[in-house]
Symmetry: C2
Subunit: 206 residues, 2 copies
């Protein structure tokens, strides 16, 4: 991503790239701008310069700064498309915790949170949805898969198949991040999984 930090020298023609490659460069440049000058400082001109392309190439794809920023964040967030399947609920939940942490504290995750601080309330709703639909809901879905697989194996009690149960981990992670202002270290995950999730999930020993 080193190229995206360069600016176009006066008179230097834009690099010739098309389609997905150019798009990727523009999205990278947008993320760079978010992390350096913030949402309010980001301009379409600045992004074009960062991506070594013209302003028209940016506007052709994204009619507004908000559209561009939303896509840049969405493209960079870690994928939560697949649930881990490591053979035990405990290992699967650890893995999901680590992925959620990555989504919250990675470069796009940090950028997303700072965007929420800077933008006005109408814009905030849109980015808020990006967190909900792009991070929180998929996490809940993956936890559901892990729990249901555990039920099939006889490891998890059938009564644990419930929406509220799937919300506990994302809720705890958001709460600690907001209220305690603390990041999540691996030992915190261990305590959450061993002291909260396993007692809640595991079937009683036969």
């Amino acid at each position: 991503m080193a190229t995206s930090r360069l600016t176009v020298e006066a008179g230097q023609p834009p690099l010739r790239r098309r389609g997905a490659v150019l798009e990727r460069a523009i999205l990278d440049a947008a993320l760079d701008q978010l992390n350096t000058v913030g949402f309010n400082g980001l301009t379409m001109e600045g992004v074009a310069a960062g991506a070594q392309t013209g302003k028209a190439a940016v506007y052709r794809r994204w009619p507004s700064k908000e559209d561009l920023v939303a896509d840049a964040l969405r493209a960079a967030l870690p994928s939560l498309a697949h649930a881990p399947d490591l053979g035990s609920v405990r290992e699967d939940l650890f893995e999901l915790c680590r992925t959620l942490r990555e989504a919250m504290y990675s470069r796009p995750g940090t950028a997303l949170r700072s965007v929420l601080h800077e933008c006005d309330q109408a814009e905030a709703e849109r980015f808020h949805e990006l967190i909900t639909e792009g991070v929180m809901r998929p996490t809940e879905e993956r936890i559901k898969e892990v729990v249901r697989r555990g039920i099939k194996r006889g490891e998890v009690r059938p009564g644990a198949d419930h929406t509220f149960v799937y919300e506990v981990i994302p809720a705890m992670m958001m709460y600690r991040a907001k209220v305690c202002g603390s990041e999540w270290a691996d030992p915190d995950f261990e305590q959450m999984v061993d002291r909260v999730m396993l007692p809640l999930l595991l079937a009683p020993a036969p």
Copy 2:
């Protein structure tokens, strides 16, 4: 609180009140202003007029708008000083959920959340602390009392005495309010208590 909505007519002398009574009137007027014109619209003059007193009486007690607003919110939040003791963990937790909901959605709770949206980041930290120290931490403390009493009765398993366990209810309530944008109805509390908290807390049947 009807008086706090009146304004001082030109030339009309301020009402003669002192000490706690006047203080109460000023705090009420501040809360009124928060709910009508918001944090940015609130002025010390407006609050003084609402409380039918002079600006000097306000400034004498609160050197800044932020101090006044923080005190007005703190004074109006429902008290979380005592844990319910209704004989069963289930009933105690319901009662605590209802108190926490009151703190979140009551007039001061709503005002507090709107303040957080309006104020800048340095101010936000202070009001954020008000939520943490005035609402969230006391809730955790009360849940701890309820759980420990349940352990003594033999109703709750001893392993449930853990910080992370006490955070589940406030975390879930904050999460649903933020991510789902939904208020908490009594049936939601029932599901949270019966599907999450009781399986997590109760000692296995002997």
